[in-house]
Structure formats: C-alpha cells, structure tokens
C-alpha cells in the first residue's frame, strides 16, 4: 500500500474530535434542472489528507469537486476552506487549484508557459517565476520537454504537466478529477505511487475523484463512497473494505457474495441466520441487536471463503457446491461455485504453491466455509 507515512496510525485527525477540519462541506446540495446531482452532503477533510471521492458515473462526485473549485455554485449549503466561507467566491479568487480530467493544457503554449500561466496571474518577478517553473519541471522530470507544445507530448507527460501546472500556485487544496483515467494500466499504477510521493513532498491537501476503487484504495488516507448524490460511507480504505456500511458499498468496493436470509436467533454478538438460498444456517458476528425474523443480507468477500475437497470440521457456515468456472490470474485463482439451491458463490484462493495444474477444476464438488467474523450483516 502506498499509504503516506505521515498519515499513519498516530496522526489520524478524523479520530480527534477537537481537530479543526481544513475543508468543511456543510449540507451542500446542487440541483440541475430537476435532478439532485449532489444531495445534502456534509463532509470534513483535514489538513494534509489525500481524500478520495469514489463512486460510479453520475453519482455527483465530479459536481462536488467542481463546487470546491468554484466552477459550479451550490444550490444550497456552504463550503468552508481553511475557515473561510468560499461558497460564493469565484474560482479565480480561491486558494484552490484543479487538475482536469482532460488535463485542459493550453494548446497554444509550451510546457513551461503552461506551468507559468497561474504564476503570471499573481504578482511574481520574472526570475521567481522562472525558478519555480524549473523546480516543478524538475519534480516530474519534464525539464527536457520545457519548450514542447502539449500536442508533442505523450499521455503520461501531459498528465505530469497538468499536475505541476495545478501545483504551481502552491494551492492550499489541490483537486484532481480522475487524473489517471487516460493512462494505460501499467503507467496508471506507477503514477499512483508517484502522486502519493509528490503529495507527501509538497504537503498539500489533495481531494481526488475516481471511479476506480483500486486506485482510491492505493492512494488515499480516507475514501468517501458516493451514490446518487449522497455520501454512503466515509472511512479509511481498510474500514470501507472490511466494514462496508451498506450493501451498495460492499458491492461497489471489491467483489462480494451477497446471501439473503432471516434472523433466527441472537446470542450476544452471535447472530444465527437461516438462508433458503444457501440451504443452511449461518452464524455471523453482529453487534447491534436484531429481532427474530428480520430479513438480512450477509456479505462475505471471496477471499474470506475457504474451499476444500473434504468436509471441514465446523458445521455452520459450510456449504457444498460444484465448480462451474474458474480463472487462473497468476497470484490468485477465482472460482465460481454453484450450490444445489442455485446460488452462485465466488471464491478467491491464493496460489501459494507453484503448480501448473490447478488442484480444483470444473465440475468438482467442493465445500465452502467461512468464519463468523469474516462477513458483514445488513438488515434489508
């Protein structure tokens, strides 16, 4: 994980109730015609964070980002940046810069003119501008391309120019709108780490919009998962992945097996669930009391399932099925297992041994089992 070192355990300002948020989004709503693009979002982001707004297309994440930049006006609500109300401040007067998804590099200017553009709008001496532009070009190793026009650059080079152009004015807050979407997979992974490195070095608060959960998990200190203009969950990558707040979050972040069932009994934290789609009883850990008969959804991640040819020792959380399909991905293998009830289960196994032939294959009967604390229960 490329977690910035500075943001590790002891420094988690969101855990400190006395900490002052750097960006305070207060009940912001944006209505286009009749659709609510952003619907009553309240969010606190702290100094030095690498914050991700994650969601599918049309969930309102880009609109929220554009409101932070001042490119859109909220229909209602307030946006405070560093303690100042910025809601009605035009974009050119905000201490905020944005890196656009299309990069929006000025095609009639060279790389260095693009980077210097923002500095020229402020009162800086020629020498100072020169020095800062050179420093930034050095930061992303673009010095040899200073005199080129954007059209003469590759996608990765343009991305770097767009990044340093948005950093040139030393903004208090940097907004990144799908900054890596236009790059190919290999370059994207490399750039994710580079972004985190740069963020650590310049110390600016970053807010990034992405639809790619892997990307969000790699770079961010915290993630806000958005759906239909609302925030569903805010948390660290690990907490959002392991303790999703809703079925939607569980399904959006990573793969998941969703099992429908009904509460039969609860003893302390142990919840007994009867599932017809599974054909057996489940025992899951759930802290909140749920009355008997409540319909629930149990979400278990594919890598939390154990597959074996022999029946395991435990009697609950165990089902038997037939492998209908599998995919060998090198580091892991994914199996699709169909239960007698018709329910499809997804299992992910790590390929620990060096085998050219998979021990499990098509049409083989396997037992699947999981531990009570390896999944999450949502009342449905």
């Amino acid at each position: 994980m490329a977690q910035p070192k500075s943001a590790k355990a002891p420094q988690e300002p969101w855990r400190d109730p006395a900490a002052k948020p750097f960006v305070h989004i207060d009940n912001v709503t944006k209505v286009f015609d009749t659709t609510y693009a952003v619907d009553g979002v309240t969010l606190d982001i702290y100094q030095g964070e690498f914050f991700c707004l994650l969601g599918g297309s049309g969930c309102g994440k880009s609109t929220l980002l554009r409101m932070l930049a001042g490119l859109e006006q909220p229909t209602s609500g307030r946006i405070l940046i560093d303690g100042t109300d910025m809601t009605r401040v035009p974009p050119y007067a905000r201490p905020v810069n944005m890196m656009f998804q299309s990069y929006a590099l000025f095609p009639h200017m060279t790389v260095e003119q693009n980077v210097a553009f923002g500095l020229k709008q402020q009162k800086h001496g020629k020498g100072e501008i020169r020095e800062r532009v050179d420093g930034l070009l050095e930061l992303v190793r673009m010095m040899p391309f200073a005199r080129r026009k954007p059209e003469q650059l590759s996608g990765g080079q343009r991305q770097r120019v767009a990044l340093i152009r948005s950093l040139a004015r030393q903004p208090k807050l940097l907004l990144l709108d799908e900054p890596l979407a236009a790059l190919d997979k290999k370059l994207r992974e490399h750039t994710q780490f580079e972004l985190v490195n740069i963020q650590e070095r310049v110390g600016t608060t970053f807010i990034m919009v992405t639809h790619d959960q892997e990307e969000a998990m790699t770079v961010s200190t915290r993630i806000a998962v958005m759906e239909a203009g609302r925030i569903e969950q805010v948390g660290t990558p690990a907490s959002v992945y392991e303790y999703p707040a809703s079925r939607h979050v569980a399904e959006f972040i990573g793969a998941v097996n969703s099992i429908e069932g009904r509460v039969v009994a609860q003893e302390g934290e142990r919840l007994q669930i009867r599932s017809e789609s599974l054909g057996c009883d489940l025992v899951m850990v759930h802290k909140q009391p749920l009355p008997e008969g409540t319909p629930v959804t149990v979400a278990v991640r594919p890598e939390k399932l154990v597959a074996s040819e022999q029946a395991p020792a435990i009697v609950y959380n165990t089902v038997k099925g037939v492998i209908t399909d599998f995919a060998y991905l090198g580091d892991v293998s994914i199996y699709l297992v169909r239960l007698p009830t018709g329910q499809q289960m997804r299992v992910q196994l790590t390929n620990l041994a060096r085998l050219t032939e998979n021990p499990l294959t098509w049409d083989q009967e396997v037992y699947l089992s999981w531990l009570p604390d390896s999944g999450v229960v949502f009342p449905s």
């Binding site: 930049a69 001042g70 490119l71 035009p90 974009p91 050119y92 905020v96 810069n97 944005m98 656009f100 299309s102 929006a104 590099l105 000025f106 095609p107 009639h108 553009f117 923002g118 709008q121 402020q122 026009k149 152009r165 948005s166 040139a168 004015r169």
Partner: protein, 318 residues
C-alpha cells in the same frame, strides 16, 4: 488456348491497372491532381493571358491589342514587350490613388467586419443548441437573395427620399434629408453588410470547436473572465480571425459593384478603374496591367504572411 489466355490476361491487367489507378498511389495523385488541373485551366491560364495582354499595345481592331510575337519573313520571330502600360500606372497618380483608396476601404471594412463579427460569432458559438442553429440560419439567410439585388436594396434605403431618410424625417431627428447615397459611408456600409457572413462563419467554426474546459482551467489558475478571453480564447481563435479577414479583405479590394452602385465620384476603387479601362476606354492592355498589379499587391504580402505564420506555428495557420 494460348490466344484466350492472352486475352483474359490482358483484360485482367487492364482491370488491375484501373483498380491501381483508383486505389493505390496513382489514385491519390489523381485526386490531388484534379483540383490543381482546375486551377491551372481556370486560374493560371487566364492569368497568363492577362499578363500577355498587359504587355501589348492598344490597337483598333479585333482583338484590340497588338500581338506579343510576330513571324517575320526572314524566318525570325519578333517579340514585342510593351512596358508602357506599367509605366503609365506608375506615372498617372489616378491609379496610385485608386489602389490606395481600395486598400483603405477594404482594410477599414475588414476591421469593422471583425469588430462586429467576433461578438456575433462568439455569441452564436456559446448559446444553447436550439438557438444556435436558428442564429446561424439568420447569418446565411441573405445568401438566398442575389447579391446584386441586396446592394440595389441599399439604394432604396439610403437615397434622399429613401426609407432611412423618411424615417428620420418622420421621427423629427433631422430637418432635411441626409446625403447618404453616393458617399464613402455608403460604400463602407455596403461592403461590411455584404461580407459580414464571410467573417462570422470561420470565426464561429473556430470558436465553437474550442474546448471550454480551457476557460475553466484559466479561471482556476487565477484569470478573471476578461483576461481569460485575452489569453486563451483570442489566441486560439487566431486561425479564424485570419481566415475571416482574408475572406473579407481580398474580395473587398477588388470590389466593383458596391462602389459603382453606392459610391460617389470620389469613391474611386481599383475595381471601378479596371472596369472603366476595359469597357469605356476599350484599353485592354491598360486594364490587364491594372489587374496584374492588383494581384501582385495582394498575393506577395499574403504569401509572406503565410510563410511567417508557418515558421512561428510549425504548421499552416488554416
């Protein structure tokens, strides 16, 4: 058997040859050659003829100029180049004044067209989709009426007891009719009116193609809207400005109908001089010389400008 094979072979070869001609390298050359052939026959050839006539002497006869070369009896060819016409252009201030006046009228008209056309094109490019097509239609609409009729209509509007004067008299703005027709003002008005669409359309084309996130980026980097216009929109619309100015300026320099119908005795444009030389004086060589000089005066600076533009841009501006 042999014969049939040969016939088949040659038929196939012919087919292949035709296919190659249309699809391969030949095809490409053919496509490029056609417009050049067109220009050669309908532009270059007439120009050479005009050049030839400009080097002749006026004669009473048919054609009314001397031949360029003559075959003499002792098997020699006599070539006579009369530079007299060009000397006259240089010595008679009438031509010089007419050229200057043409350049001035065309230049000012182009500027006025640009100043009127840019905001128009900008507004059309930035308006909502449904309105945009309507506005574009309105720009093109005048082309549905003959150019000549539209210029004649201006006579009806501008003359002493015309539409405009009667309106102003009725409103009590003026006591007696203004002399609008047969003035330089009328010529400017006519040229700007007639050529405005040629300015608006290329400007619209570049402005509507512009990526609007560039303006958002400029605002994000600290530019107020007016400055963003100067530093981003204006430089990016330069190709449109150049194309529009050329489309207005070049035909306006040689404009004959508008100064003839709307202009006064002192609206002496070179197109009118050319027409007088050709039809009234029947001096074909002098008229040809006027035309050749006009072309050179226009083409040489434009070619130099194009060269400079290519050097600074690294690619042609249009």
């Amino acid at each position: 058997m042999t014969t049939r094979a040969t016939i088949n072979g040659s038929a196939r070869n012919a087919g292949e040859w035709l296919g190659d001609l249309l699809t391969g390298h030949h095809g490409r050359r053919l496509v490029i050659a056609l417009p050049y052939l067109w220009l050669l026959v309908f532009f270059m050839l007439p120009f050479v003829i005009v050049l030839k006539i400009s080097l002749a002497e006026v004669l009473l006869g048919r054609p009314p100029y001397s031949p360029l070369w003559q075959y003499l009896e002792d098997s020699t060819v006599q070539i006579q180049l009369h530079l007299d016409n060009y000397r006259r252009l240089w010595e008679d201030p009438l031509y010089f004044i007419a050229y200057l006046k043409s350049l001035k009228i065309a230049g000012i008209s182009t500027l006025v067209c640009l100043l009127l056309g840019y905001p128009m094109a900008y507004a059309i490019a930035r308006t909502r989709d449904s309105l945009r097509n309507l506005l574009l239609m309105l720009v093109i609409l005048p082309f549905w009426t003959s150019f000549l009729i539209r210029v004649y209509a201006w006579i009806g509007i501008l003359k002493s007891n015309g539409l405009l004067n009667n309106l102003l008299l009725a409103l009590g703005v003026i006591d007696h009719p203004l002399a609008l027709l047969h003035t330089d003002f009328a010529v400017y008005l006519g040229i700007v009116y007639s050529y405005l669409p040629f300015m608006v359309l290329p400007l619209y084309a570049t402005l509507s193609r512009m990526d609007l996130t560039l303006l958002e980026a400029a605002a994000d980097l600290g530019c107020r809207p007016w400055k963003a216009f100067l530093r981003v929109t204006l430089p990016l619309s330069l190709p449109g400005i150049i194309a529009g100015c050329m489309l207005v300026f070049i035909p306006a320099v040689g404009e004959f109908v508008i100064p003839d119908l709307l202009g006064g005795p002192d609206s002496l444009m070179i197109g009118k001089v050319l027409w007088t030389e050709f039809f009234s004086n029947r001096d074909w060589p002098a008229a040809s010389a006027v035309a050749v000089v006009m072309l050179v005066l226009l083409v040489v600076p434009l070619a130099l400008f194009q060269r400079a533009q290519e050097k600074s841009e690294g690619k042609p501006p249009l």
